[in-house]
């Protein structure tokens, strides 16, 4: 291996990552605001009415990004958890813990906005349909992960136990994603797909993509904020945290 390769271990140390994260957070907030304003303007002010669903379809500008994020965040969380199990790096477990509450909130928002869309469109708030049920299980997985970690005092053990739960739960993500194909569900199929042209007007598509980008930036900003707090808490006995908080001897 060449000696010039980036020393990833350096960035994996909380001491280095903490100030770096602090510098990045305002930029992610700024991007979240820009994308959010652009996305909501496009989706709520400019996009035309949907022929079949009327104006109520605009809920999807919130519902689809929230649902995407709830799944993506789970995958990222499981990735960090696996990294932590494999290499025992301190940062990995902290990242996984920092992501879980945000993922849980997006899973909740996905169900909430979905229910408010379902009532006028399907005539019901909820059905025990494959898509809806697997998304509800995702919310329970997040809550289970958070509760399990909170129940174990030693953070390293909490990381390991949480990581195993997170990895077992990954099986649910493809189930959510493909549920509309595998089973006959009330939930409609994917509106945006990588393999074929989107089945919606360009303006609607742009609104949705911009809102999704805003949710991405929001999630990164919030996760970085939370991971910094977790770092202070877990590293409170180290010199760098003492120095940072102005505890100079």
């Amino acid at each position: 291996m060449s000696k010039q390769s980036i020393n990833w271990y350096k960035y994996a140390s909380p001491q280095t990552f903490y100030p770096l994260a602090g510098k990045m957070i305002p930029w992610f907030w700024l991007l979240a605001a820009i994308f959010g304003i652009a996305g909501l303007t496009t989706g709520f002010l400019l996009a035309p009415m949907d022929e079949q669903q009327g104006e109520g379809y605009r809920i999807i500008f919130l519902h689809v990004p929230a649902s995407w994020m709830s799944m993506f965040i789970y995958l990222v969380m499981a990735f960090w958890a696996a990294l932590g199990l494999a290499f025992n790096t301190r940062l990995s477990g902290m990242m996984a813990s920092a992501l879980a509450p945000t993922g849980a909130l997006f899973a909740f928002l996905s169900l909430w906005t979905g229910a408010l869309w379902g009532k006028p469109m399907w005539g019901t708030w909820w059905v025990w349909d494959a898509r809806l049920t697997s998304e509800l299980i995702l919310l329970f997985l997040y809550i289970g992960f958070i509760a399990l970690q909170a129940a174990i005092d030693d953070p390293r053990r909490a990381d390991k136990a949480g990581a195993i739960l997170a990895l077992v739960g990954v099986v649910n993500i493809p189930i959510i994603y493909f549920s509309v194909k595998w089973w006959n569900t009330l939930h409609q199929g994917a509106s945006v797909s990588l393999t074929r042209a989107p089945s919606m007007a360009a303006m609607m598509l742009w609104g949705m993509l911009l809102c999704a980008l805003a949710c991405w930036m929001y999630s990164i900003a919030v996760a970085l904020m939370r991971v910094r707090t977790i770092m202070l808490e877990r590293e409170r006995h180290t010199e760098w945290v003492r120095a940072l908080l102005g505890d100079t001897e």
């Binding site: 002010l45 919130l62 909130l105 009532k119 919030v222 707090t229 945290v241 505890d247």
Partner: protein
Amino acid sequence: MHWNSLAEFLAMGKHGLYVWGSVLVMAGVMLAEPMLIRRSRRRLVERLRRQYRAERSEARAVSPSSSSGSPA
């Protein structure tokens, strides 16, 4: 611009309740989350500072001669 008036925008066809119910809850959650993180961080910092101070004064009480350095 798709709308002719503010009233029309707020009514959202017949779906105002559902659309604005989604928007308000999502906005509320996305405002509350960072605020709660900031608050818990502030509390943690206060707690740690108190803890460090207590540890230092305890250390001084145990061995007053060895830690004669004045706090910066």
